[in-house]
């Protein structure tokens, strides 16, 4: 409270002084909190959405928080050196989206040596020094998508599973969820399980080949992300088959998948980038500012904030349905307009 008051006064003072003294030294309390967001890479749609959502957090917009995004370029060692940079520059806190579940621990240790709190988001890291984690449970999404495919197949027939890059935490956990659901349906056979590395182009070729290898035998396609499910749809359409004869699911809720849900070609589960990014910042700020901090993310209407003290916050998955797809697309439009 005191800090906020001082900040208010200080900013009032600066507002009066600044126009006359541009570039002059600023009071310590007036300076925005310096938060670093170390994300594994900015090459895919999901992380772009996550970053945009973070930059639109009310505290960032108001100038209370100054966010710097560090692109980890899909390399654990790049992320490690970015943590070292942030530590030297005296960042107040870090939001961490690690590329690797194990290698990320060293980066967290670097920050905690300087008492910089680190909150994880979206992807997991095996570290007990992490202040908290705000993300979605991938095992659950894997189970949800597989269940929707299996229910759509009336519990019998053959499925193929298109996997993410083998060894990534999302692939491992989504596979676990996929197989958990499949165990409940003994009448369903898994014809093939193979990786297409999250890539639509790779999944397209893979599905084309499977359609040749198993003519008229594939009933369901479980894509561990949307891009690959979309590739499978493309293969089915180009083979002259009817997409409606297949039960197809993906995860993430990328824009193209929403459009495909709208056309009733697949089901998808939205991984809520806004909730993950803005929720993580709220939890981090609560650690820095203290219990007086008021969280701003809308996700706290669904799950309890608890003063930001929980070790893990599970952001719920949102199944995309024909009922909510238009609203979700509108929201997405807002997030992607430049």
């Amino acid at each position: 409270m005191k800090k906020i008051l001082t900040m208010g006064l200080a900013s009032l003072a600066t507002a009066l002084i600044l126009p006359f003294a541009p570039g002059g030294p600023r009071a310590e309390a007036d300076e925005p909190y310096k938060i670093g967001a170390a994300v594994y890479g900015l090459k895919a749609e999901y992380m772009r959405l996550w970053t945009t959502a973070l930059e639109r957090h009310p505290d960032v917009v108001s100038g209370m928080v100054d966010v710097t995004v560090f692109d980890g370029r899909y390399d654990a060692s790049v992320q490690q050196s970015q943590f070292e940079t942030m530590a030297t520059q005296g960042f107040d806190g870090i939001i961490f989206v690690p590329i690797d579940i194990e290698a990320g621990a060293a980066a967290v240790a670097t920050a905690s040596m300087r008492d910089i709190p680190v909150v994880g988001s979206n992807t997991r890291v095996n570290s007990n020094q992490l202040a908290s984690y705000v993300g979605s449970n991938d095992v659950k999404s894997g189970r949800m998508e597989a269940e929707s495919v299996l229910e759509c197949m009336d519990g019998e027939g053959n499925v193929v599973i298109i996997e993410g890059p083998i060894g990534q935490s999302a692939q491992i956990e989504r596979r676990k969820g996929n197989l958990e659901a499949l165990e409940q349906y003994p009448a369903v056979e898994i014809l093939e399980m193979k990786t297409a590395n999250w890539s639509r182009a790779e999944a397209l070729a893979l599905m084309e080949n499977w359609l040749s290898a198993y003519p008229d035998q594939i009933d369901g396609v479980i894509g561990q992300n949307d891009e690959m499910a979309l590739g499978a749809i493309q293969a089915i359409e180009q083979a002259g088959l009817d997409v409606e004869d297949f039960c197809i699911a993906g995860i993430d809720g990328v824009t193209d998948a929403m459009l495909a849900v709208k056309e009733d070609k697949m089901v998808s589960i939205l991984q809520d980038a806004t909730a993950q990014a803005q929720g993580a910042l709220d939890v981090l700020m609560a650690r820095i500012v203290g219990p007086d901090y008021q969280p701003k993310a809308t996700v706290w209407e669904e799950i309890p904030f608890d003063g930001g003290s929980e070790a893990v916050y599970n952001v719920p998955w949102v199944p995309i349905t024909e009922q909510n797809v238009d609203a979700l697309l509108e929201e997405r439009e807002k997030l992607t307009t430049r």
Partner: protein
């Protein structure tokens, strides 16, 4: 140093005995390997030789084959183009942005989008060519730089987001068929024929070989070597952009991360096809067979349900064997 005559003679005769076999292998080795693979796969999977699967292979191969055709021009001059994957993404995203209502600026005629995408590819290729031909920089370095810059341009232009909702008329480029043959395959066939005519029926083609064989003597005999070197990179850029446009139309979205590491498969196809990395020797037909070989391996292993890990091992082994055969040929 005293020479052991008898040993030397026996070595010679040993080499002589293998001479014809080595020659046969080096001339037709890849074609032979390709045919053997086809026969094996046709027994291993009853679906392999079915018409729709063959069409799949051709369609899947078309992207890499287009890259490899452009790459053949470059490698024949003794150069290399590492930037094709990035140029592919750039050309694809430029065309997609103009053919999509999602990108703002409205939808233009698909042919205009096509031309713009190709123009973008030629531009990046020409920048490569300028640095390599005019300022004599190593192709490896320049195109490595473009590999990074081209990808960067693509992400800046698209803001890192895919470009969805592409005009149906544009998608025909990747999804249409004529007499049951997919457009990507027809485009590949057309580009192959045109390239073949350029390389083997024109003076320009002879010059490409001449520059790669011995640039100095080509220059002395009046060949504008700088122009030849510049132009092959523009050709490679064109082919890469065309591949990117087909990929965009196939996947129904402009994907900024498309084509990563595609340069490796393209170079592999050229090398497997018997083109020498030092330039001056090689054939376009070889490149096509090389690309088909890579495509057939991928398809066959999918049909048989073999892990993609093996695919990488097999492809790598074939590359090494291909270069080994090439070194036999050089010794002759």
């Amino acid at each position: 140093m005293p020479e052991n005559h008898s040993a030397r003679r026996s070595e010679q005769s040993f080499a002589g005995g293998r001479h014809t076999l080595a020659r046969l292998l080096s001339e037709y080795g890849i074609l032979l390997a390709f045919l053997v693979l086809v026969v094996v796969l046709s027994f291993a999977s009853e679906y392999f030789l079915r018409a729709d699967n063959i069409i799949n292979i051709l369609r899947q191969t078309s992207i890499n084959a287009l890259l490899a055709i452009g790459m053949t021009f470059v490698i024949l001059t003794g150069g290399i183009d590492l930037s094709v994957g990035s140029v592919l993404a750039f050309g694809g995203i430029v065309a997609a942005s103009l053919a999509s209502e999602a990108f703002g600026g409205g939808v233009v005629h698909p042919l205009v989008a096509l031309a713009a995408g190709l123009g973008g590819g030629v531009l990046l290729g020409a920048i490569n060519g300028l640095f390599i031909a005019k300022w004599r920089m190593p192709a490896f370095v320049v195109t490595l730089g473009m590999l990074s810059m081209g990808r960067g341009f693509t992400f800046i232009y698209s803001d890192g987001m895919p470009v969805p909702r592409i005009d149906e008329r544009f998608l025909v480029i990747g999804q249409g068929t004529f007499l049951g043959i997919p457009f990507p395959v027809l485009i590949l066939a057309f580009v192959f024929l045109v390239s073949w005519v350029i390389l083997y029926k024109t003076r320009y083609g002879r010059y490409v070989y001449a520059v790669g064989g011995n640039e100095k003597s080509a220059q002395v005999s009046g060949v504008n070597t700088r122009w030849i070197i510049f132009s092959v990179y523009a050709i490679s850029g064109f082919c890469a952009a065309l591949a990117g446009i087909i990929l965009t139309a196939r996947t129904t979205a402009g994907l900024p991360q498309a084509g990563q590491a595609y340069e490796l498969d393209a170079i592999a196809a050229v090398v497997i096809g018997g083109t020498s990395l030092s330039g001056g020797r090689g054939t376009l037909t070889g490149t096509l067979i090389g690309a088909l070989l890579i495509g057939v391996i991928g398809n066959g292993l999918d049909l048989l349900g073999v892990s993609s890990y093996y695919q990488q091992v097999i492809k790598g082994a074939i590359i090494i064997v291909a270069v080994l055969l090439d070194s036999f040929r050089k010794r002759d």
